[in-house]
């Protein structure tokens, strides 16, 4: 298993200026690891990260869009895998931060924990490529290559919590952050 903050630090080195949609526990860690105007946290309703990401990928096909989804979140919107595969955005990279729990809601297990395969579901839905990483060394070695593939690509990260960042909900979801994102995107 990969400690979440360790994995995100490696990822951040590969995507210094990409558009990133992140949710829940991952979002709090991500904003500390890669503070950036192109971080998008305005998902609003649980499960919709992949859909926001699809909109961004379709709206800006010239930019790589990274979605840092949760496993419980993606289970709420599994149909989006078929939608995304069908729309086939070449610039769409869908990470599933799989910790097997609804971590932000009391650490309860997700349905199918340890049995279902997100990469398998995405592959059969029609994603162009899928990967699974449970070892930090392998992840560090191969993530650069995976990010160079043609999307949509799903990358399942088998995670455990690492060093937790502050949970500042108000700051993460502030209106100013959304305005900053839109402004930065328009200037690209």
């Amino acid at each position: 298993m990969i400690k979440r903050d360790d994995g995100l630090k490696i990822l951040a080195r590969h995507i210094p200026d990409d558009i990133v949609v992140a949710v829940y526990s991952t979002a709090f860690d991500w904003v500390q690891i890669r503070p950036h105007a192109l971080n998008y946290f305005a998902v609003g309703a649980m499960g919709l990260a992949s859909s926001h990401g699809l909109g961004l990928a379709l709206g800006r096909p010239d930019r790589r869009v990274i979605v840092l989804d949760g496993d419980g979140s993606l289970l709420m919107n599994l149909g989006s895998l078929a939608t995304i595969a069908n729309a086939a955005p070449r610039n769409f990279f869908h990470f599933v931060c799989e910790n097997g729990t609804y971590e932000a809601n009391g650490d309860h297990p997700i349905p199918g924990r340890g049995r279902l395969s997100f990469s398998g579901i995405a592959r059969e839905a029609g994603y162009a490529a899928t990967h699974e990483f449970a070892d930090i060394g392998v992840f560090e070695q191969q993530i650069g290559s995976a990010l160079g593939e043609t999307g949509p690509v799903l990358i399942d990260l088998k995670l455990v919590p690492g060093t937790e960042s502050p949970r500042d909900y108000r700051g993460l979801y502030a209106a100013e952050r959304r305005a900053t994102f839109r402004s930065a995107l328009m200037q690209l």
Partner: protein, 169 residues
Amino acid sequence: MTGSLPGAAIIAAIKSAGVRFVMTVPDIVSSEGLLHPISRDSELRLIRVCKEDEAVGISAGLAACGQRSMLLIQHTGLLDSINALRAVAVEYSMPVCLMVGLLEKEPGVAPTKSGRYGVRIVQPILDAMSIVHHLLETEDDVPIIPKAIERAYTDSKPVVMLLGRRPTP
């Protein structure tokens, strides 16, 4: 009330407002008059979604990129998407435009007077959410469309356009 609702006029109005993406779950109300023609229209990119709330997220992402879009769904899908609309469109003030078929609404009868429970509750729910809505019953109502879309994007607010009858092909 008599009259018809020409699908071609609706599509022209949507395009005149700058909409280039349409997200849909098929609805028999709009299938013949709108969705089939839109699927053949090279000026509109049709994104087929599995569930209507996906389209709320897609619309928000597109709007952040300066791209205009519209959801074409049934009122049952609107009801299923209430939480996404609450969060993304209302609380986050995103310009989400929806065209919604009122399945089994009686033409010429106000939605709130419909014999169908699911139709009767739509406008009161939108009012409770402070979401602007318009009823499209005849061709005379079509000019509302570009104005409503323009206002949604100018004010960064959601708007719902309710199809009071089946648009004609």
